[in-house]
Structures are given as structure tokens and as C-alpha cells.
Symmetry: C2
């Protein structure tokens, strides 16, 4: 059996390794236009920050390691076309183009940075995005010779870069087109994140909210000034565009493979696309949201790994379902941990629920203990049924601890009333006597229609 | 309405405060033989260690604060008898005995240290137990003038005291009668705890396993030597007995109130005892174990708070169920976090399950990050159904993080197969790409009878 995988960062690499273990006699090949394979893209901000010194720490498996386990990796080999009826792909390898046949094809083409329409974008060598190993190397090198930077976008990646630059002594202007930072969180939690970050010392950064970057200026290939629609100008040594990502679906779409509502590749529960013998997984693929039951696109490394594994198992003939995602995520910026799972209050309204919420601010351990941190926890439930819908946590390093308990509750479709009976661990160094999650449930019990 | 509460540490204090808020016009009285009311007993080891300097930090509400909210607290007032038919209690107050009438009685008499049969126990002033505020004050004072100590028992409290003494420069001999330390965990996890603790520097302590203390020796009221059954002798400046606790049920039992299988007071789901208008809550009370469905006695501060609240609500006429406990607990000793929930493997066998287990050892974040800790996680499931039964985590500070997610799964009666679809948060500073919980589930999927 010939198994061909397009893309080899997380989902593709995982799928290749898994399928080779399941079918040792099969031929497994990875084709990628990238210069590296099997790496932790999520770790790039921490490499840039200098949390570790060798970018090769980000590499999970090398081409040689793949080779040793019988998997051929073709780097810098762009797949130009998928020919569904012929079960072939057209590869533009560095030397010459060729056709490769497959019995099973796994599309793991990932996603790429979204570039907003900015005049002059293509002209400058000190404008970066953060996606590939080279991006990390280039940004770190430039950062070490810079005094200041502009970051465009304040999502997870934008804020991770903010930490990296501030910790390396740069002055940073972060420009956000929305009217608040970190807009994947609800507005009230965005404000808490902003206030918390702004309490950081030394505060060598400024947020510019509701500003849309319209134009880059510079000379000799080097950007010097960023201008916004409102006419503000920022002189800077470097610019990082962190305005989100878009799925790489062109290859699939051109082959007639169906896309989902989100624009990512549509798959069923066993990761099959609409084309025979073609699977998709990772950041190019649409998921089902376990809470809403609707299609969603939540491109994250942990999900890519799981989907890669699931696609490989099914391609190998072992029926395995992937239920979907909860949208669980966590990130750190300076003094602040931000974590979330499930639906936001806004999404809950959009999906037809009548959300009620509880926001609890508490110390992260008993207040008499040393090194007490803080946690602000928001929990969202449906008023009518009491069904838990989602939650967000912001605070010191341990603030994410509650989100995985809440994610588990969402997976189990628990109600507020049911979760209120939870027995969570308590000891003075680890929690308050009543965990913030249970404080939130107590409040929600008074707000939902069905009594607790 | 006259509401009388016997005992005022956690459950009693919580019940009093809650019922007064629900029924502002009621008369609420707390009777206790203690010299303090409403305090964090769980915090005593951290006070002894010196994590904070004023023992008053442990006091949650003072007698004066109770008074202000309309609750009368009678300290050093031992209740001698409950007269069920008369709805009265007999109180031996410091001045003189008296009878107090109640409409509703809440028994929150707590628990006391279990004292093993040791010859000479009653003779010495440098032998301590850890339960009340005075115990903490006395132990800390003695510790500051001691060079070494003997701890008898290696459960949560014994190990918390070990930390306190080691951090204060004492040499410590810890004597454990079982053949392993921390025997509320499974044997394999006990070994991991022991090995981890023994890697601590400076290691100024020794474990003596399988040794039963038989006799104390000393002179002039001061103990100097501890002898074990096997004839070993330990010279020491002080001894702490941490051999577990027993529920204070004598008052209830003498009044004809039914006790449960565990020996603690039996209550129904709304915290009613077998006697009319009498409720019980806190460490003196038996619980239902949510996983096994059987009676259990898991005396912990967080549960005491919840039971106190539940008893108060029902006594006030608001029907509220308390479902039970999962046995979730966490504690710290030196470099080691220990946390557990649900049934151990041993308990699972005792209760008729056919347990399968997965033990996973992983870094607590992506290995290329700085300050990487470790976590060893054991998850237990039923082979036949795949039902999750329990789990234990040992490792660096964040090792408890997974236990609350697992507790939530136990509450929801999830199977291994269901949990395996969980979407847990991932980011390099917070977790490995695949969370150890999901690694454990993958392993268990291969061991349970129903395929994943």
C-alpha cells in the first residue's frame, strides 16, 4: 500500500509515524514545500524569547529519523495538484516535477498567516510572520539587533511575541484593529487581560486599540514606519504580523474536495474528505464543536496531533472516530496566563442559547500562604437547561488549572447542578477551600431556571 | 426558630453562617469545647513551617464577627449529652452546666487524632498531635528550640510536618508501621513518592518503614527516646503523632443516633441523621462515595464546608442534596506534590471491579522549556466497562493539575473511551502536546474490553 501525506509539521508527521507502525510493509511518503519537517510551531515564540538557545529543540523528528523508520520525506517539494480519479499527485520537486501514485492520501497542508491588506507589505525585509522554523530564526536575529518593534494583532501569537520582545528589552507598540485585545475571549475578560498586562513592570509596551494598519513606509528594502487608517505613525525597527491564520485549502479545493462552512476542509468523523481514499487532518481541516455540535475551525497543535493519529488509523483500516474539539486553549504573556474552553458568552448567544454567567475573582491558594497569585474565572451556562457551555480563566501561572476540569465537564455535557457536586482537591498551597470553579457554580445555580 | 450547632471549626462555622443568612430571624448558637472557632486546621502545618508568622491568619471568623452577624459562640463549652425526645442539649460551660433547647440541631463535632497504643504516651509534654490552633502554636514553639524530631505516621499530615521540620533545619526520623509511606496511595505510587522525597537536598530525614512505635521513655515529663516493637530506639527532642484521625461520634452514639459502616455518623442525602431534627456534617459524618456508590469516610476541609452548607440549607427548609465525595485530595511535601481522586487500584479490587491501570511519567511542560518538572500519573479504569475509577499524580508543583479534570470525569461517570476524546489545553509552558491524561487514556484503551 502506498500512503502519501502532503504536509509534515504536526498532523502530517504524526500520521506518517502512526501509519508506518500500523502497516510496517506499506510505503509512506511525506511531501512538503517546507524546509523542515515535524516541528513544534507553538514553540517559536519561546525560542525567539530565548527560553532555549538551539532552534533544533523544536524539531520532533528529523528527516533521517523518518528515513530510519522507513518513511521518506521530500522537503521543498510543493504539491501542485491532486488528481482524484487517477489517485496521483503532481509534485514540483527541486529538480523536476513528477507524478506520485497513492492508495491513500492524507492532506495535512496546515495553515498560513493571514496578511491584512497593507500597502507596501511586500517591499520590506524586516516585516515578519511567525509560522515556520526560518521565521523564528529570522525574527530572533533581527530582534537581537533592534530597539523596538511593532506587533500587528493581539491574539495568542501576538501576545506571546509581546512577551518575547519585552523580555529582550525592546519597546513594543501593539496595534489591534478590534476594539479590544485578545478578542477570542469575552469583552469583560479581555479587559481583565489588558489591565493585568498593563500592570507589568517595566512596561515597555503600549496597546493601540481600534487602529487598522494601512501602509508601510521605508527605504532600501527596510521598513521604517507603520501608518494606520486614522493617520497614526509608528517608527520601528521591525514588524510582526500576527493577524490570524487561514487554512491551506487551495490544493484540496482545486481537486474538487468539499470545504466546510469555515472554509477549511470538510471531513467526517473518521477524517475522510469528500474524495475517495483522501483524508485530511490538522490546521487545514474543519472540526465539529462538541458543545455546539456545529462545525468549527480551531487550528491548534494538540488537535493536529490527534487528528493525524485518527486519519492514520482509518487510512490503515482501523475504524476510529474523532469526536471534535472544545476550543480549549492556554497561553502566557508576561505576568498573565489566559485560558479558555467551550463557547464564549458571545458565541453562546449566536448559537441560540440564553447564557448566564458567573465571574469569580479569587486568590489561587489560601490567602495566608506565601506567593499568592490570583485567578479570575468566568463560567458560562445555558439558563434554560443549566448546561455548561464554556469558561475562561485569567490570572497568575496556575490560572489555567481549572479550565481542564471545565473542559472535561463540557465533554460530558454536565449541567451547573451536576458540576456543583464536584469534589475538587484542596490544600492551602494549591487552592482556596472552596475552589473558584465551585464558587462560580454556586452563583450560576441562582441564575439558571432549574434549581440546584 | 432555635438552631443549635455543636462544633465550630469548618462544617459548624459554615452551617451557622449560612443558616443565619437564610433565616435572619432565627436564633443560631455554636457550642464547642475548643478555645477557638472557625479556623483552617489544614493550614497548621504551614504555620508551623513558618509560611506565615501570625497564627491568627488561620482564623476565618472571630467570635466577635459571629456576634455581629447575630450568631452566639460558646467556647470551652463541652456538650455532654443530646436529649433527642426533649430536643435539648446539656452543656458543661466553664461556669455551670445548663440545658439548651433546639428546634434544629446540627452536629459538627469533627474528628480527633487517633493515638496508637504506646506505653508512656500520657507522661510527656513534648509529644504532640496536630489538630487545633494550640497544637500549632505549641509545636512551632517547641520546634524552634529543637534539633530533631520523630514523626509517627506518613500520611498527608505526617509528610506536611516533615516538610515543616526539614525546612526549619531539624533532623527527622519518620516512623511508619505500614510497609510503605503514604499508604492511601497505591503501592507503586508510594514508591515513587518515597524515591522523589529521598532525592531532596539536604536530606536531613530518614524513613523507618514497617516499624511500630511501642514505648516512650523520658524523665521529668520530657520524652527523650522512642522505642519500636523491633527494638529500635530513637533519641529525640519532640514527637508528633500523625497516625490518622477518628470521628467524634460518642455524643451522637450515646444519644442513639445511628452510625454508618465507617463508624462515622450516618446521614441521608440531605444530611439528616436517624434522629428527628438532627443533622450532621463535617469530619464526624459518613459520606457516599460517588464512584463506588458505597459509604465512605473522607474527612477533609473542603467537604466539611460543603456539608455544613448543605445541612444548613436543609435545616432552614431548603431541600438540597449532597451527592457525596470522590476522595479528591492534594498535599505537598518538600519537592513533591501528591494528589489523588476516586478509588485506588486496591479499592477497585475490593469493590469488585477488574481494574486496569496506566502509569505515565512525563515532563510537566514541553521538554525544551526552562524549569521543566515531572509528573507521574496513574489512572485506573474498569476492564469490563471502561468506566474510569480513579487516579493518582505525583511530581513537581503542577502535578495535581490533572487530578481535578479526572475528578470531573469520575463525577460524570465517563469511560476511558469517552475521556480519550477530551480537548485539554496545550501550550509549551503549560503541558506536553499530548497531555499525560490522554497518554494514560490511550494506554487504557488498549487494556479495556470495549474497544476505543
Amino acid at each position: 500500500m502506498n500512503i502519501v501525506i502532503i504536509g509534515g509539521v504536526a498532523a502530517g508527521a504524526k500520521a506518517a509515524a502512526k501509519i508506518k507502525r500500523l502497516l510496517p510493509d506499506s510505503k509512506v511518503e511525506i511531501y512538503t514545500d517546507d524546509t523542515h519537517v515535524s516541528y513544534s510551531s507553538c514553540g517559536l515564540p519561546y525560542y525567539i524569547e530565548g527560553n532555549f538557545s538551539d532552534y533544533r529543540s523544536l524539531l520532533v523528528r528529523s528527516v533521517e529519523e523518518f528515513k530510519e523508520s522507513g518513511i521518506d520525506v521530500y522537503l521543498e517539494s510543493k504539491v501542485e495538484k491532486i488528481l482524484i480519479p487517477q489517485q496521483q499527485i503532481l509534485v514540483a520537486a527541486p529538480d523536476k516535477a513528477r507524478l506520485v501514485s497513492y492508495d491513500k492520501l492524507i492532506i495535512a497542508t496546515g495553515a498560513r498567516p493571514f496578511i491584512p491588506p497593507i500597502k507596501g507589505y511586500e517591499n520590506f525585509n524586516n516585516v515578519f510572520t511567525v509560522r515556520k522554523i526560518e521565521d523564528g530564526i529570522n525574527i530572533r536575529e533581527k530582534m537581537l539587533n533592534s530597539k523596538n518593534a511593532v506587533i500587528i494583532g493581539s491574539g495568542f501569537i501576538g501576545l506571546e511575541l509581546l512577551e518575547a520582545f519585552v523580555k529582550n528589552g525592546l519597546e513594543v507598540d501593539l496595534i489591534e484593529k478590534n476594539n479590544r485585545i485578545m478578542s477570542s475571549f469575552d469583552a469583560d475578560m479581555s479587559e481583565i487581560i489588558k489591565a493585568r498586562l498593563e500592570s507589568y513592570h517595566p512596561k515597555t509596551f503600549r496597546f493601540h486599540i481600534g487602529e487598522t494598519v494601512s501602509e508601510f513606509f521605508g527605504s532600501n528594502g527596510s521598513l521604517t514606519t507603520v501608518r494606520t487608517l486614522s493617520g497614526k505613525e509608528f517608527n520601528t525597527d521591525m514588524v510582526i504580523i500576527c493577524s490570524g491564520i487561514v487554512p491551506n485549502v487551495e490544493l484540496a479545493r482545486d481537486a474538487g474536495i468539499e470545504l466546510g462552512e469555515s472554509g477549511a476542509i470538510k471531513v467526517n468523523k473518521i477524517m475522510q474528505t469528500s474524495a475517495p481514499n483522501v483524508y485530511a487532518c490538522g490546521d487545514c481541516t474543519e472540526e465539529r464543536h462538541i458543545v455546539s455540535g456545529r462545525s468549527a475551525w480551531v487550528p491548534l497543535g494538540s488537535t493536529a496531533n490527534k487528528e493525524g493519529r485518527c486519519a492514520a488509523m482509518n487510512a490503515a483500516g482501523i475504524y476510529t472516530e474523532f469526536e471534535g474539539v472544545l476550543g480549549s486553549a492556554v497561553s502566557r504573556c508576561l505576568n498573565t496566563t489566559m485560558s479558555m474552553t467551550g463557547l464564549t458568552e458571545l458565541e453562546a448567544v449566536q448559537f441560540g442559547y440564553t447564557p448566564v454567567t458567573a465571574v469569580v475573582s479569587k486568590p489561587d491558594k489560601v490567602a495566608y500562604m506565601p506567593d499568592v497569585g490570583d485567578i479570575t474565572l468566568k463560567v458560562i451556562a445555558d439558563k434554560v437547561t443549566g448546561l455548561l457551555l464554556g469558561g475562561q480563566a485569567v490570572g497568575s501561572i496556575g490560572a489555567d488549572k481549572r479550565i481542564n476540569a471545565l473542559a472535561t465537564a463540557l465533554l460530558a455535557h454536565l449541567t451547573v447542578q451536576e458540576f456543583n457536586q464536584n469534589d475538587l482537591t484542596y490544600s492551602p498551597p494549591y487552592s482556596t477551600t472552596i475552589d473558584p470553579l465551585l464558587n462560580a457554580m454556586s452563583i450560576l445555580c441562582t441564575k439558571v431556571s432549574r434549581p440546584c
